[in-house]
């Protein structure tokens, strides 16, 4: 077994773990964390596919690698939006409780 295959199997487990956490957790923040864990697993799968595609003197296929870089940045901005939504939700709820 090569290192790439090993990390591929690792990524498969990470996706399953992240999905489990995203479904089972009650707190929204925990779901966001779990969803990020799932996403990192998916990116890792891409990395394994890139690593297998060595050629032309490169350690891996640069196309999936570039896609993963784009993906990591977009995942971060989505996480920031999700966290902002969550904090706003709590602020609105706290204001409603104070009114009652």
């Amino acid at each position: 077994m090569t290192g790439a295959t090993l990390f591929g199997l690792c990524a498969a487990v990470l996706v399953g773990l992240g999905l489990y956490g995203a479904i089972v957790h009650h707190l929204i923040l925990r779901r966001i964390v779990a969803f990020n864990l799932l996403g990192a697993g998916a990116f890792l799968l891409f990395g394994v596919v890139a690593r297998r595609g060595t050629g032309a003197g490169m350690g891996g296929d640069p196309v999936p690698q570039a896609l993963v870089i784009t993906g990591i940045v977009v995942a971060f901005s989505a996480t920031a939006l999700a966290v902002a939504l969550l904090l706003r939700l709590h602020a609105v709820r706290a204001a409603e409780d104070a009114d009652r």
């Binding site: 090569t2 290192g3 295959t5 090993l6 990390f7 199997l9 690792c10 990524a11 498969a12 487990v13 990470l14 996706v15 773990l17 992240g18 999905l19 489990y20 479904i23 089972v24 009650h26 923040l29 925990r30 964390v33 779990a34 864990l37 990192a40 990116f43 799968l45 990395g47 394994v48 596919v49 890139a50 690593r51 297998r52 595609g53 060595t54 050629g55 032309a56 490169m58 350690g59 891996g60 296929d61 640069p62 196309v63 690698q65 570039a66 993963v68 870089i69 784009t70 990591i72 940045v73 977009v74 971060f76 901005s77 996480t79 920031a80 939006l81 966290v83 902002a84 904090l87 709590h90």
Partner: protein, 315 residues
Amino acid sequence: MTFALAFDCGLAVLILAMAIWTIAARTTFPAVVGFVAYGLLLTLVWMRLAAPDVALTEAAIGGGLTGVLLLGATSRLRATEPPAVSERPSVPFRLAVAGLCTLLSAAIAAVVLLLPDPAPTLAPEAAAKLSLTGVGNAVTAVLLAYRALDTLLESAVLLLALVGVWSLAPDRFWGGAPRSLALRHRDGSLSLLGQVLPPIGIVLGVYIVWVGADAPGGKFQGATIIGAMWVLTMMAGLQTPPEISQAWVRVILVAGAAFFLAVGIAGFWLAGAFLAYPTGFAKSLIVAIEVALTLSVAATLGLLVAGPPARPVRT
């Protein structure tokens, strides 16, 4: 078993342990700390997968900025967090979900084991046209030449996310500054770090952007480091987030994507297609776009961490 494979096995075990900890921890704070450690370990995996460009991005974002964002949210929501045990779903439900998630993992693992051999790759194509772009780093060539449209849309997505975050502000705070990131219990070490690290970090970030044309690095990696330095000075209380209605803030945020778009549209006349670079000018245009995007992306990332405006406009 070779040493390299033993190292990979150890790394995989550590990552799985961190992932299980992140999912299984009873309260949020240890889970987020576990997630940050998980991100840093993934950085090592990216190095083992011969993807140093991705490793730099993962270290700066997965281990750094996402951690700051999630830890900040955790501390603000801590008062509302219910006792860990009270709201857990029932055991049969959890078992059913665990079973289905195991099935999914098994399916993905089967796909990994059945991947075609030899693996299809675009590396030769990427290498063949590399001399036309003038850059030496194939990943940068993919990001800014072959698939420049993805990168343009990505810089637009970052701005859209920031607009989304800002739009969550209550009406009375619109146009004001985000809440201060300064920690309540400030100690000497953080303000020392906040003064010593940024000069080093900014030089490092600029270097990573510059060297990205020919070696591992690039604008996102460099911009994230510069953005992180800004967040650090804000957390140390040395700077406060700017008011979002100020013109210079808006100009810095939009400049990168606007310049990229302008070069893309100019490509219609100069090179016959959207986002095409005229022959001979590819490298200088790529570096110019990278420099313009760096400041914009750094500012966007910093303001995404800072969150929506939470103070009225000063008059």
